[in-house]
């Protein structure tokens, strides 16, 4: 293995045009679900999106495969990192409406509480938006929005 294949893989890879169309459609309809459906890792984590005005909430549906410590049980810190980073990108695409596809430059995560075996939600806030970079803070929580399980500072390159 390990040889990059240029051809699209059905169900996995899409053309850039398809991807851009999904972004445009998500912006027009206010529903980013079609883009999420194109991202295999988003499906793998069980991510879903709801949009309420300027608020974009991403949900990670609980599944046993997300567990990182079976003795507690607690979600894997990596699943929270994935949720936080994906939320930052979706927020940049659908709320900030950046032109380029966001690329993560850096990501700093504070783990604040043990994340239990239930659904987890995440929301991002833009701290600074420039032409080339967007800086966001992202909060992940479970039952109580005011008691985050993890917070991230994410720097995206968008131009």
């Amino acid at each position: 293995m390990s040889e990059p294949e240029p051809e699209p893989v059905p169900g996995i890879t899409s053309s850039l045009e398809e991807l851009e169309a999904a972004v445009r459609e998500g912006r027009a309809s206010g529903d980013p679900e079609r883009l999420l459906a194109l991202v295999p890792y988003a499906r793998f984590l069980g991510l879903g999106c709801t949009r309420e005005g300027e608020r974009l909430v991403v949900r990670m549906r609980y599944a046993p495969s997300l567990i990182g410590d079976a003795t507690i049980p607690a979600l894997h810190g990596g699943t929270l990192a994935g949720l936080l980073e994906a939320t930052a990108s979706f927020h940049a695409l659908f709320v900030s409406e950046v032109t380029g596809m966001p690329k993560t430059i850096s990501l700093t995560i504070d783990y604040l509480r043990s994340a239990r075996a239930v659904d987890t939600f995440a929301e991002a806030t833009v701290v600074r938006q420039g032409r080339r970079f967007v800086v966001l803070t992202v909060s992940a929580y479970q039952d109580d929005r005011h008691k985050p399980v993890a917070m991230a500072n994410v720097k995206l390159k968008v131009g």
Binding site: M1, S2, E3, P4, E5, V9, G11, I12, T13, S14, S15, L16, E18, L19, L38, V39, P40, Y41, A42, R43, F44, L45, P64, S65, L66, I67, G68, D69, A70, T71, L75, H76, G77, G78, T79, A81, G82, L83, E85, A86, M101, K103, T104, I105, S106, L107, T108, I109, D110, Y111, S114
Partner: protein, 150 residues
């Protein structure tokens, strides 16, 4: 205590105790006290950008977090639970479609209640990194005596 043979044992333990490491397919390549090498195989389900086939950052974060925890574990005198306190990742370049990602992670300090790691993710050559990482881990159930910091 830690040796190359331990790598297979850790892989097996992860299957039961850390289901998500097994779910994304993290493998332990090599392990010794204070330093571990791990691998994540490219898999269609982990793709984050469907136009390029590049693996999502979340999968790489999971690999780095898991590798950090394992590096800390090699420095503990006896098994004790650990939890990630914080994790920072800097991306130097995109990972390539179809290629395995390797990580070398080092636990350079393990104090009574906190342990510190740093690591690098790469494809073939560590001097051409995809990302670097720094993280801290809490040793749960270990209480400081008030004299040692942190």
């Amino acid at each position: 205590m830690w040796s190359d043979e331990m790598a297979a044992q850790v892989d097996n333990a992860w299957r039961d105790l850390v289901p998500h490491n097994a779910a994304i397919g993290i493998e332990v390549v090599r392990i010794r006290v204070g330093e571990v090498w791990t691998r994540l195989r490219w898999a269609p389900a982990l793709v984050g950008n469907p136009a390029t086939g590049v693996i999502h950052g979340g999968a790489l974060s999971t690999l780095l977090d898991a590798s950090g925890g394992l590096a800390v574990a090699t420095r503990l005198g006896r098994p004790s639970p650990i939890a990630t306190l914080d994790l920072r990742i800097d991306y130097m370049r995109a990972a390539e479609r179809g290629k395995d990602i390797l990580v070398r992670m080092e636990c350079y300090a393990a104090r009574r209640s906190v342990a510190f790691v740093r690591g690098v993710a790469y494809h073939d050559d560590e001097s051409d990194p995809i990302a670097t990482c720094a993280a801290t881990f809490a040793r749960k159930g270990e209480r400081g005596d008030g004299k040692e910091r942190p």
